[in-house]
Subunit: 335 residues, 2 copies
């Protein structure tokens, strides 16, 4: 019989198919339609003029702005979902409410190579990706209009990427998004009841249980969450309690780069470079260091389609139990 | 500048690209991988033995159970997300909570034709699809363990369908799903403040404004919602206030079939048979006829990928303003 499992943070139920379970090779995927050639890629060196002027770059000494010689480059999104100019206008339209689409939308170009996925990069370069994200957060946090900063990656067409060249995105919003509010509220309710951080409790539980752990180092644990929504969903949680990603310590960034490389490498190998998203979950900018919230990263391979049932109910059907997914990932075998 | 619009029911913000807007022909889609041939289709007449025994059929007089001669057939899902046997067990697992996957999961085979999409069916046959859904709801409602019944359709591989033969699905769950709770809570909050049903207000607003209306008849209005999450998202709302789909009146079913045929026909033609989901939004089984809730149907074409930003924030980026989508749908032209 299938099993219903409840996410301890936001109370979301997931249906886990506990019988045989779908194996990595059972996921049929349409071939990736991305690619493009480096000649025309706006993120490749030599094509710097095809993006808006850069905001930040990590580069060789003496290199000029918007010229080659960089290994990380941050630029405004050419087709921004939100725009940074202007004030916040709120107004009604008939019975409805609207506001101006103010915010920031930036692209973190993670490497000068058109094809080097993050799992293939040198650890020190992965560290720099996270440093660049943090640098931008610290800068945008100074803008009093901004309430939240989301850092995320879309990898592969089915995960929403429109360019193949490895990149992450950053969006700063003038309100706290509803999902973030729900996660914060769930974590707060747990804390109010137990007087402990739910993420610290999960960390303890997974570290003892071990069945769902896929990687661990001094600073972080990577595991398949108990109520995984998606096959091979993987969370990476820092062992030190902290609400804000931007407060990450230098030695933690070394461990984070190492565990991201390992976890993404496992997924990349076992599932043969699947489309995926990952998202940095962090507290709203104007919150202090909350005792009930704990920043972390959620990786979601896109192997199944979200369909009518998920849209209608908000709970998910996951054909691969997380315990089975963890076995495949740690064996590094597709089946 | 993009515009943020707020859904008046659950308070979800949507980013609407108000500049040029993405036109129907701009949506690139990978070709549908479904199809299959009628010989091997478990839903085609002559293959009745390939499904579990039928629960209900609308058929010619004298026809035997699980034999051809039907035009609608309801069968248990062969790979059910939830199973109908057993009691509800709730238990802990370490710090987590789980329960048995009890419920019902049925398939409504809408036609004996392998390829006839609902928009191409005779209106009287579409009426019968809704009658069959209602018959099953009335029957399952007698089971005291069931709290909610979701009726939905996945059309096309990208919308989660695994078989091409036209069908809908019904899932009965032993709890009220989180999305339904959120929608009910939002509608209740509006009612508490305004002492009016939010859906009745939307109906009035759209009927006067007309810019987003795509079809209307005596019983229903079809329109693109003000804060559409997806390009060409279309809602169909009955003009008579009622919380429960299963209380639908006979004359309403005639109008519902007519407006579904028209709305799905518009979408089918303008977007060239896109993958889509539709979902019947109805009140939980054990609620009375609530003054604040109003059943309706939401149609969601799948033209864009839900990506990291949507997952991380819960708000959506919609590149096609609903006013523009309504123009395309009512002109019945792709561009």
């Amino acid at each position: 019989m299938p099993e219903l499992r409840k996410d301890p943070i936001i109370g979301r139920w997931v249906i886990i198919a506990t019988e045989r379970g779908t194996r990595p090779h059972d996921f049929k995927r349409s071939p990736e339609s991305l690619g493009g050639d480096p000649q025309n890629c706006p993120f490749c060196p030599g094509n710097e003029s095809k993006t808006p002027p850069e905001i930040l770059a990590y580069h060789e000494p003496g290199r000029l702005k918007d010229q080659p010689g960089w290994w990380i480059r941050v630029v405004p999104n050419k087709y921004p979902a939100l725009q940074v100019e202007g004030a916040i206008h709120r107004e009604g339209e008939g019975m409805y409410d609207k506001m101006s689409g103010l915010g920031a939308h930036e692209v973190i170009i993670e490497t000068s190579s058109h094809t080097e996925f993050i799992a293939q990069m040198k650890p020190s370069r992965i560290e720099d990706v996270f440093w660049a994200c943090r640098d931008r957060m610290i800068d945008l946090k100074k803008d009093p209009r901004m309430q939240y900063i989301l850092i995320f990656k879309n990898h592969g067409a089915a995960a929403g990427a429109s360019l193949a060249h490895p990149h992450s995105q950053l969006i700063a919003t003038p309100m706290v998004p509803i999902r973030v509010k729900q996660e914060m509220a769930g974590a707060k309710a747990y804390y109010d009841y137990k007087e402990r951080c739910v993420f610290c409790d999960i960390l303890r539980e997974e570290s003892e249980d071990r069945r769902r752990v896929v990687a661990e180092n001094e600073g972080f644990v990577a595991f398949e969450p108990y109520a995984s929504r998606f096959p091979f969903e993987t969370w990476i949680i820092p062992k030190i309690h902290s609400a804000h990603f931007e407060d990450v310590q230098k030695h933690q960034v070394v461990d984070l780069a190492q565990i991201m490389k390992k976890s993404l490498g496992q997924i990349h190998q076992v599932l043969q470079n699947p489309p995926l998203n990952y998202i940095v979950h962090t507290a709203p900018l104007k919150e202090m260091d909350l005792p009930h919230y704990h920043w972390h990263i959620e990786i979601m391979p896109k192997l199944t389609h979200v369909a009518g049932f998920e849209w209608g109910t908000g709970f998910y059907i996951n054909p691969t139990p997380p315990e089975l997914a963890a076995q495949f990932l740690t064996d590094m075998k597709g089946d």
